[in-house]
């Protein structure tokens, strides 16, 4: 994925720290799609994601003067987003409803989508919305911490090392959570295989 090896955002961050609002706007524009995906796949709700993303950037705006560059801005803003979302999910508890975003039409051209729908009969038989709903339901059955790891690794394509920095845990813990979450998802999706249309 597109993790910066060096902090390429440093010039923008420095300008934002000196009060340049336009520089912070550029950071918002750059990171909002990616952070939206992160939060959405943890909450499975568009409205919650929108509010949470606004809060994340508002908090980052207030805190950016205290950002000392010990990590990259990429890691820093992702850490804020993950921590705020985890806190939100803990407060929300099990009270949620799925609010599915539109599936981009370009998925039909995706190599992996073609492969999955051609080889897996349950996926082939289900329509896209049903597949989306099943995946999101399976994700929501995971604990918040496991869901965060799955989202960052499988969906956002982050390496283990980056995830460990964002979550503040060891890489071993990340791998362990990922292994457990995959087993859980396997069980939930096997039910989908047995009963494809729900």
């Amino acid at each position: 994925m597109d993790q910066p090896r060096t902090d390429e955002d440093q010039p923008l961050v420095a300008r934002a720290q000196s009060g340049d609002a336009a520089a912070f706007d550029e950071l918002v524009i750059k990171y909002s799609p990616r952070l939206y995906g992160l939060i959405y796949n943890m909450t499975s709700n568009h409205e919650d994601t929108n509010d949470m993303l606004q809060d994340v950037f508002a908090k980052a705006y207030r805190a950016i003067k205290g950002f000392r560059g010990k990590s990259s801005f990429y890691t820093w803003i992702h850490t804020i987003a993950v921590n705020m979302t985890l806190n939100f999910l803990k407060k929300r508890g099990r009270r949620y409803h799925l609010s599915l975003d539109d599936v981009d039409a370009s998925i039909q051209n995706d190599k992996e989508f073609i492969e999955v729908t051609s080889t897996s009969s349950p996926v082939r038989e289900a329509d896209l919305t049903e597949l989306q709903r099943r995946l999101n339901e399976s994700m929501m059955k995971l604990s918040e911490e496991h869901r965060a790891v799955v989202t960052m690794f499988h969906i956002q394509g982050m390496p283990h090392a980056e995830i460990s920095k964002i979550l503040g845990v060891s890489e071993g813990t990340v791998r362990s959570r990922l292994f457990y979450a995959n087993r859980q998802l396997q069980n939930y999706l096997d039910e989908f295989r047995k009963n494809p249309v729900g």
Binding site: G19, N50, F57, D110, F113, E115, V116, Q132, I155, N182
Partner: protein, 173 residues
């Protein structure tokens, strides 16, 4: 296929990248962000806004680089005070300079001169100071002798009217 393996689960989950918010969402997101920032600003008490702006302006001044400023300001104040004192309290009048220096015989010591000047004021004299009265004659003699050793044969040189006694050129600041 009996069940989804890790690879297939990964592929399925990666398809979730295609789940996107409504069209135009990200274009409006920044406007919504600005609107919320303004609303939040309006909800804050005025002192909080003022404090934030003050801290912002101080941050822009780069305070750590200005830590020597108080010391520099104090130094400037001290210099100004010294100059002001020089202006309002001039040096002693030149009448002092008109008093001729006492004529001293070559063999008269400084202690002798000073003791004769002070003898009328009170009972204290440098010829027989209190500290030396109780001393034995040996110590008293040593004091007098040591006085002779310090340029006893030459008249004392005083700086009068801020002019150096010597005619070497003085430095003007």
């Amino acid at each position: 296929m009996d069940h989804f393996d890790d690879n297939e689960i990964g592929k399925l989950l990666r398809l979730k990248r295609y789940e996107q918010p409504p069209p135009g969402y990200f274009e409006n997101f920044l406007h919504e962000f600005h609107r919320r920032q303004r609303d939040e600003l309006l909800r804050q008490p005025i002192w909080s806004v003022m404090w934030q702006r003050l801290s912002d302006s101080l941050f822009r001044l780069n305070i750590p680089s200005l830590t020597s400023m108080p010391a520099a300001a104090a130094a400037v104040l001290v210099c100004a005070l010294v100059v002001a004192l020089k202006v309002y309290y001039p040096s002693p009048s030149s009448s002092i300079a008109t008093v001729p220096p006492p004529v001293v015989s070559p063999h008269e010591s400084i202690l002798d001169q000073m003791s004769t000047e002070r003898v009328g004021d009170n009972h204290f004299t440098l010829r027989s100071p209190l500290s030396s009265r109780s001393l034995g004659p040996d110590l008293s003699r040593q004091v007098n002798e040591s006085a002779y050793t310090h340029r006893a044969s030459t008249p004392p040189r005083y700086v009068l009217d801020r002019l150096p006694v010597s005619y070497e050129p003085s430095f003007n600041f």
